[in-house]
Amino acid sequence: MLPHVLPHILFAFLLATLLYPAEGHLLPFRTLVLSVFIESVFIIRHRWGANKTASRDVASVLFTFLFLWELLSDRLKCIDTMLFPAPERIFTLFISELPDMLSGLGGSLILLGSGYLSALATAVPFGLLVGWHKRLFNAVHPFAKVIGPIPPIVYIPYTIALLPSFRSASIFVIFAGAFFPLFVNTVNGVFSIPPALLDAARMLHLKKRVFFFYVLLPGALPGIFTGASLALLLSFLLMTAAELIGSTSGIGWYIKNFSDFADYERVIVGILFISIIITLLTWLTERLEKFLLRYREVNND
């Protein structure tokens, strides 16, 4: 029975710690709200969700983390509060800094979008062609093998020197970083189409265009999505890296800037914000994947 109530016990511990009165200590209102929110989401998911064990485990980890954080930083004061501020401090700052961070985010996302989408628009068609034509594959494969593994971060200083503006340089680096995972996985996606299915397509004598859009592209789509989520993470990484190096705005710059002033509270807030944005983007990609590949969920063999 213990595992079933463990999250609730941990929640109670957390609440007790948060509410415990101390001199000069204000009620950590935002941390309380967050904890209660997590508890209610957990109760709902535990009652109606599919995977009860997982939701119990996740809730337990979250409560333990918040509990230890609050206990070590604000209560026992045994860790440096300059590097590890109390949760309440971070959450308060997160809310007050949100407008600033959001306004920086717009520029960052335009960078990310231009690089990522142009990689998508070139790597996928090129990957389909290369995956389908054996001769083209044999010609391109050695080059992809050599250029592909170069960490795209090494292009940053060079492209900043090479291209006229910081914007164009970072867009190019994001493009270069997103291109290879997309390209390689698109080619693999074509290779993973069952040969009999391609034979069936050949016997339908489809026109080239129809064959590409209705057979090759959807057939390679599982591979394309593998590449797309990899490329998304990589281009997000490159975007922040590029901003750390050469930008005067954006979310990467935000972290770099405050870290220069030793304002680690805002650095942590920035990291928290980035993690929320990347989680959101990944979630959106996964939803799209689930929708476009919904045919795989109906198998009743």
């Binding site: 069952p194 009999a196 299915l197 034979d199 069936a200 397509a201 050949r202 016997m203 339908l204 004598h205 489809l206 026109k207 129809v210 209705y214 057979v215 959807p218 057939g219 789509l221 590949l293 919904r294 045919y295 795989r296 109906v298 198998n299 009743n300 063999d301």
Partner: protein, 279 residues
């Protein structure tokens, strides 16, 4: 009219360009238009390869293969193929699988007409209307093969090649689909040639007018027989009483003996190779 003359085939051994073991050796046969032929043989005897050669999916190293006097040099326009599995594209609905093929075959027809034809053929193979909007993955194996057959019939090719289409089905569905196939072939407005690959003697006897038995390693014709008691060369679908006729029994036993001898011979030579696509 398909004529196969002295056709041999072997797979190339990768980069070395050495000839692999022969899959098919000196196959010759003439198949007149409108005939229902079964190619019978054990796993790996090259019967699927023979079908691929006729379809133009592979080309023979030796011999000639012509359809209506024209040499087969690539995926053949007169042919439609149904495989054991993987005939329908899993990422489009069953209906879309048909309309895609139909739009490609009849580019001049309006959309509504295409859709009507697709629905008609799905109904003809006994699929309920709602299947039109379902993904193939949501259908049972038998329903999927019905849909695949509906697709090849709908595009109107004069030559149907079926590669163990009922191989993965349970016995009951198998019988139902055999009946359906014979009925559609017999009553269809079009006189179609059917080449049906199977390893099941009873299936071959029930379905076809003529049986070509392939022996294995290398694949070669060991028998080419007309099936007795097919009225006007055709029989009434659903009538399995033909199996009770003494002449039919003898014919079937004859084939089984041939078939068994080939399997035993191959087991003794110890050269079981599984390089065919069929099972």
């Amino acid at each position: 009219m398909i004529s196969i003359r002295g056709v041999s085939f072997h797979y190339q051994n990768g980069a070395s360009k050495d000839a692999g073991p022969a899959v098919l050796d000196n196959i010759s046969a003439e198949i007149p238009a409108g005939q229902f032929v079964c190619v019978l043989g054990q796993s790996g005897c090259g019967k699927s390869t023979l079908l691929r050669l006729i379809a133009g999916l592979s080309l023979p190293q030796k011999g000639t293969l012509t359809i209506d006097g024209q040499a087969v040099s690539g995926p053949e326009r007169k042919c439609s193929v149904v495989f054991q599995d993987y005939s329908l594209f899993p990422w489009m609905t069953t209906g879309k699988n048909l309309t895609l093929a139909l739009r490609n075959a009849y580019p001049e027809k309006p959309r509504q007409e295409i859709r009507r034809i697709a629905e008609e053929y799905l109904a003809a193979v006994g699929l309920p209307e709602k299947c039109f909007h379902l993904f193939p993955g949501a259908l049972s194996g038998g329903m999927r093969q019905r849909a695949a057959i509906a697709r090849v019939l709908s595009v109107g090719s004069p030559l149907l090649l079926l590669d163990e289409p009922f191989g993965a089905l349970d016995p009951m569905n198998r019988l139902l689909l055999q009946d359906m196939l014979v009925k559609l072939w017999r009553d269809g407005g079009m006189k179609r040639t059917v080449i049906f690959v199977t390893h099941d003697v009873e299936e071959a006897v029930y379905l076809s007018q003529r049986i070509i038995v392939l022996g294995s390693s290398p694949g070669r014709i060991i028998a080419d027989r007309q099936v007795p008691h097919k009225i006007d060369g055709r029989h009434s679908a659903g009538d399995r009483s033909i199996f009770d006729l003494p002449e039919m029994k003898e014919f079937q036993n004859n084939l089984l003996t041939l078939y068994r001898e080939d399997i035993l011979r191959r087991l003794e030579s110890g050269s079981m190779q599984q390089n065919g696509t069929g099972i």
